[in-house]
Point group: C2
Chain length 357, copies 2
Amino acid sequence: MSELRKDPLVDRWVIIAAERGRRPDDFHSGEPARHCPAGASCPFCEGSESKTPPETWAVRPLDSKPDTPAWQVPVLPNKFPALRVEGSVDRCGLGMFDCMDGIGAHEVVIESPDHEWEMTTAPPEEIELSLRAVQERIEDLYRDGRFRYVVAFRNYGALAGASLSHPHSQLIALPVMPKRVKDKLASARDHYRRKERCIFCDIIAQELMLGDRVVVEHEHFVALSPYAARFPFELAIYPKEHQHDFGLLNLELRTDLARILQTCLRYLKQALGDPAYNYMINSVPNTTPRPGRPDFWGTIALDYHWHIEILPRVTRVAGFEWGTGFYINPVAPEDAALFLREMVNTEPEPAVVEASE
Amino acid sequence: MSELRKDPLVDRWVIIAAERGRRPDDFHSGEPARHCPAGASCPFCEGSESKTPPETWAVRPLDSKPDTPAWQVPVLPNKFPALRVEGSVDRCGLGMFDCMDGIGAHEVVIESPDHEWEMTTAPPEEIELSLRAVQERIEDLYRDGRFRYVVAFRNYGALAGASLSHPHSQLIALPVMPKRVKDKLASARDHYRRKERCIFCDIIAQELMLGDRVVVEHEHFVALSPYAARFPFELAIYPKEHQHDFGLLNLELRTDLARILQTCLRYLKQALGDPAYNYMINSVPNTTPRPGRPDFWGTIALDYHWHIEILPRVTRVAGFEWGTGFYINPVAPEDAALFLREMVNTEPEPAVVEASE
C-alpha cells in the first residue's frame, strides 16, 4: 500500500507509491516510455476490456453489458493506482513526521474507443461527453466523505508525463487538502471577506475590460493567458458567470466549455506544433456546500470559482524554479494572447466562428 | 527590461523576461537546445573571454589580468539575464495586479576552464573553489539591500534545463522573498517559537538516530533522502552543527562539503546512469542578521539552517503535480538511501573512505 507523507517544512504532502516497485535501472534515461500502438496491445482500445479493471462508469448502448466493446467514454480504476480506496484516514506519526495510509482513488477516463482520436479535431459532443464523465465521477467520489479534494487532469505527450498515447484523462481523489488548493482558497476567502466579491470574478472583469490577455471569448466562458503566467502560452479558462462547482455545469455550459477548450488546444497546436501539455480542472473541495451534501440547500459558495489551467510544456523547470517557486517566463502573456488571437483570422475551420471577439 | 509579476491568487511571483524575445516557433519541440562543443564555439571555454560580459569575480594568478585566460572559477554576469541590476524596487499596480521592475542579478560560475570537467571526478579542491565563488558572490550581492534572497543552483543535463554543457552553476538575486523560502522560514520560526530548537537540527537528529534514510555521513555534513522526498533518489545535504548562513562556511567545512557533494553526485551517477539533476543551495535571506550587515553583532539566527537539495530529474512532473502541489514518488526514500549506501562497498575509488558509517 502506498503512503502519504507530509514534509515537515512546507506543508506539502507526497505519495510514496513504492509498491509500483521500480528498480534504479528503470530510471536510467528518465521515465520509461510505455509505447502503446493502436489495437490489441493498447489496454484502452476497444477489445482490450479484459486487460483493465472493471469499468466504474460508462456511456454505452442500453442493450450492451459493462466491460464489453461498444462503450463510449468509460471510466476505469487505474491499473497502477497511486492511491487505493481501501483503508482508513487515521494519521500516524513517526517522531516529528506525519503520515497516513495512501487512500484515495485514481481513475482513468478513456475519451474515445478510437486510438487516433484527437481533442483538437473531435466533434465537440464527444469532448462534452468526457467532461460529463469527469463531472459524474467527481460527484460520486465526493459522496465519500474521506475525500477532501478531487483533481481531474489530462497529460498529453511524453514531455507532459503521459505514458500511454490512447486519448485519456485522469482523476485523483485525495484524503487531505493539497497546499496549492488551500492557498488559492485562502486568498479567495480573504478577498471575499474584504470586498464581498469573488476574486476570480474581479480578475475576469478586469481582463475582459483590458482585453490584451484574452484569447477567445464565448457566451459562457473566457480563455485568457494569466497576468502572471508561469509558462509561455499558459492559458486559463473561466466560466464568465460565478460558479464555484464544476459539478453544476449543465449540458449547455458543458457544450460551450468543450468548444472553447477545443479552440484553445487547437490554437496551441497550431502555434507551437503539437506541444505536450497538461490541463487541470480545479473545482471546489469536498468541504464546501454542494449538491448531494446534507448541508446544501441551494446555497452557492461565493468565494471560489472553478477554472481550467492549460500548461503547454515547452520550457524546462530548472534549479531556480525548484529552489524558489519563482518562474521565468520568456513570453509575455499579452504577446502569447495576441499571437493566438490573430490565428482566429487565419483559422480555416468553421468551429471557431462562435468566438465573439 | 523584464518585469516581476505577482499571481493574485497564490502569492507567487514570476519573471516575465520577454526581452529574451522568442517566437512561438522557438518552442516547437520544447526548449531549444543550444549545443556547445568544447573550444572556440563554447562561450565558457578558455579563450572565449571576449564573448562574455566582463568577469565579476575570479580566482586567477596574481600577475594575470581580468578577462584573460589563466582564470580558475570566474563568475560572469549572465549574457541573457532574467533580471538586471539597474532599476528601482518600486512596486506598481495594474488594477488588481502587482508588478515591479525586473531588477536583480543573474550570474554564472564557470566551474573549470576544462569543458570536460566533471563534478563527480574532479579533485575536491576544485569543487571547494567553486563553492567559495558562490559564497563570495552571495556575500557581495547581499551588500545590496534591494536583494532579499539569492539562490545558487546547478542545472546538469538538458532534462534539468541546462542549455550549455560547459560545467557551470548559477546565482539569481531577487528583490522579493520567494514564497517557497517564506514558507520554510515560517515553519522554522513557528517550530522555534514552540520548542526553542531549530526544526532542521531536530530533523537531522532524528534521521541520524533512525539511520534508514541516511546516505552518507561525514565529520561536518550528512546527506540523506528526505522523509517526504518528492522525487526518486532526491537527496538533501545538511551541516550537522547548526549554521544558518552558507556564508559562514570556513575552508575546512567547504572542503568537507565539496567531498560529500561529490560523493552524492557520484552515487547518483552510478545508480541512475548519469541522470540530469538540479541542486540548489538554500541559504538564509538577506533580512536575517549576518556578517557585514550593521545589525550583526556576532549573533546567529537560531531558527534557520542552510541546506542543499539535489533533485535527479528521472520522473516527469504532470497534471496532478501542477494542479495540487502533491507529488507521487515511486521509490521510498529508505529504499533509495539503502541502495546508495550499499554502493559504498562496491565503490572502487578511495575518495569515499572518509564516509564514517
